[in-house]
């Protein structure tokens, strides 16, 4: 029996029907063969090396024609064992590991972690106000940088490289400030338990004021390029719909949740770091689709810049310490910029080595062994650019966590992907995924 798909004749009326040429054999065999050929479902593997899956995500799509009937998400291609590694590092070193989870929002990860350790230590109230302000400033700038990447790479995945270059242009301005303050462009490890690693350099705030224009110009450009672009609107509007009930059932937070109209933002709902003292609006949209999510991100960036501006004003007005006074916890380093890069200030080293043997011993003990944290457990959440970011820490009273677990919003949001994509077309999968903006470093950890 010879059965083949053949192209339908040009003047056919049966656009949707499959044409099968059959010759010879029983009619029942022919019918079975037709059924086999026309009801075949195709499973397409997408990723983990795919330019549009936002990193090393693997999607297993079951297709019927161009329609996606089932979406399965394969994660773990970037599993780094960070949580396990944290059990073998001191509480202070944990910052350098959390910062590498969601690598486009480094300092937002660090923030949750240091807040959690501080609560375990019971020193939340002892953190100097200037340190809290610096943390807030860094968290908000991180949010802008993260959203710029989300919108930029989201546009890139839809085929617009210009959007990526514009997004990265604005992010560069922020990264220059980060580098000036923390010494690193990404993976900053700048926040410390009890405060921040060091105070802002003298001219940093003036520099940041100067960089504001560049960031805002990039946000404006993105708005002009994307939000008024009929093709982009056409690709996004009504795609990846997930309403409030769906978000609630799946534990979705962040811009995805706010795009359904619920103004849930931990900065407002459970303020930390002094968010209760700054003015900002919780941005919501009501469309509950990909378009709404990108709109939330675009508008949130402006609110974050608003918060950052308030932080700058206050930081200029309030000098002071940036680390807790308790010498059992405060990291004993004084960093400075030498001819070979950032490192311990020579004056501080001289003072330690020549001043007193006890202070040197204390320094060595604190750096090598670390401080001890009372036994207990804690769960702290903050509003990460991707959603609610939680850190669960268990201490057995030792200098290292007994167990560290992170609730990564990227991971939780990713489980909505099937709900967003099933029933849509393959091209809409890209849109749905980009609108969730998962970062695989955070998903897999």
């Amino acid at each position: 029996m010879n059965t083949d798909h053949v192209a339908p004749p040009p003047d056919t009326e049966f656009d949707d029907a499959a044409f099968v040429a059959a010759a010879g054999g029983d009619w029942s065999d022919v019918a079975d063969e037709i059924a086999r050929l026309t009801e075949e479902r195709v499973v397409v593997n997408m990723g983990p090396q795919h330019p549009s899956t936002h990193g090393v995500l693997r999607l297993i799509l079951e297709l019927s024609g161009e329609t996606v009937t089932e979406t399965r998400v394969g994660v773990g291609y970037l599993h780094t064992g960070i949580e396990k590694t944290m059990e073998y590092r001191t509480w202070t070193q944990g910052v350098a590991l959390t910062t590498r989870m969601d690598y486009v929002a480094s300092m937002a990860n660090e923030l949750t972690y240091v807040l959690a350790v501080e609560r375990l230590l019971g020193i939340t109230g002892a953190v100097p106000p200037r340190a809290a302000l610096i943390r807030m400033l860094m968290a908000e700038l991180t949010r802008v940088a993260s959203h710029l990447i989300a919108v930029g790479t989201g546009g890139n995945e839809l085929g617009g490289t210009t959007l990526m270059t514009v997004g990265f242009r604005g992010r560069e301005e922020i990264l220059r400030f980060f580098e000036m303050v923390t010494g690193q462009r990404m993976n900053n490890a700048y926040l410390r338990v009890g405060g921040v690693a060091q105070d802002l350099p003298p001219d940093a705030l003036a520099f940041l004021r100067g960089a504001f224009g560049g960031v805002l110009r990039s946000i404006d450009d993105l708005e002009d390029l994307l939000m008024k672009n009929p093709i982009y609107r056409g690709r996004l509007e009504g795609i990846g719909y997930l309403d409030l009930a769906g978000c609630m059932a799946l534990g979705i937070t962040g811009p995805v949740l706010r795009a359904t109209g619920l103004p849930f933002d931990l900065r407002r709902a459970a303020p930390y770091c002094g968010y209760e003292d700054v003015e900002f609006d919780v941005v919501t949209e009501t469309t509950a689709d990909a378009w709404g999510r990108f709109m939330v991100r675009m508008r949130e960036m402006r609110q974050s810049m608003r918060i950052a501006a308030q932080c700058i004003e206050r930081l200029e007005a309030s000098p002071g310490p940036v680390m807790v006074a308790d010498k059992r916890i405060a990291w004993p380093s004084q960093l400075s910029l030498g001819p070979d890069g950032q490192g311990q200030s020579p004056a501080h080293v001289r003072e330690m080595l020549s001043g007193s043997m006890e202070s040197l011993i204390h320094h060595v003990k604190l750096v090598t062994e670390g401080f001890r944290v009372p036994a207990g457990q804690v769960f702290v959440q903050t509003e990460h650019p991707k959603g609610s970011h939680g850190v669960h820490l268990v201490s057995d009273g030792g200098p290292r966590p007994y167990r560290a677990h992170v609730r990564e919003p990227s991971f939780n949001n990713l489980q909505a992907l099937a709900a967003l994509c099933n029933g849509g077309t393959v091209s809409d999968v890209i849109v749905g995924l980009a609108s969730l903006d998962p970062v695989l470093g955070g998903v897999d950890r």
Partner: protein, 190 residues
């Protein structure tokens, strides 16, 4: 495997042709998108306006390994990802080069644990190691320019595919205690 252009060149002209071919190859090295983690973001940043990789004829990151001749392993390689990295490498056409970008790709970085391959040179042969966590885009550009120099100086004589395979076999070979690994220069057994 058949010789490439070098098989048709008379011996007296080989040196000049090698220079021309090297310049052409170095001038249009197209990277495959092998973004893995943090370094991938810096790799993308290197392609955008401020750092502008297109100055060196390579802003086109190819999604298909068949169209690419440079793999920038940018980020941590997990044990789950390692076979994928290798498969993409195998799918690239010769001649091909690998830059190991970042501390994790070079040595495993800060993550000395059960999950990560301790250096992507366990999986693919590496031409340039680029340290940093993550390296700045300028450092990536510097690594690429270094690679360009290597590509320009590459001899045409021996078939590169066979040589590369021999070098890799030598690198993978189990050594007797005290035995030295054979030295390589520019991807060729010395």
């Amino acid at each position: 495997m058949a010789d490439g252009v070098e098989g048709k060149v008379p011996a007296f002209a080989l040196g000049s042709v090698a220079k021309v071919v090297g310049t052409l190859r170095a001038g249009s090295t197209w990277p495959v998108t092998m973004g893995l983690a943090c370094c991938a973001i810096e790799m993308m940043a290197a392609g955008t306006a401020r750092f502008d990789l297109s100055r060196f004829g390579m802003e086109v990151f190819r999604a298909s390994p068949r169209q690419a001749d440079l793999m920038i392993v940018s980020g941590r390689v997990s044990h789950k990802m390692a076979p994928v990295v290798r498969r993409v490498y195998d799918q690239m056409a010769e001649p091909k080069w690998v830059i190991s970008m970042g501390a994790c790709a070079c040595t495993g970085g800060v993550f000395n644990n059960y999950a990560l391959v301790q250096g992507c040179d366990h999986v693919v042969p590496v031409d340039i190691y680029l340290p940093g966590c993550p390296p700045r885009p300028e450092m990536l550009i510097h690594a690429i320019l270094e690679l360009h120099q290597q590509i320009k100086a590459e001899p045409l004589g021996p078939d590169r595919a066979t040589v590369a395979r021999a070098v890799e076999q030598a690198a993978l070979a189990t050594l007797a205690p005290g035995e030295a690994r054979p030295a390589t220069v520019n991807g060729v057994l010395a």
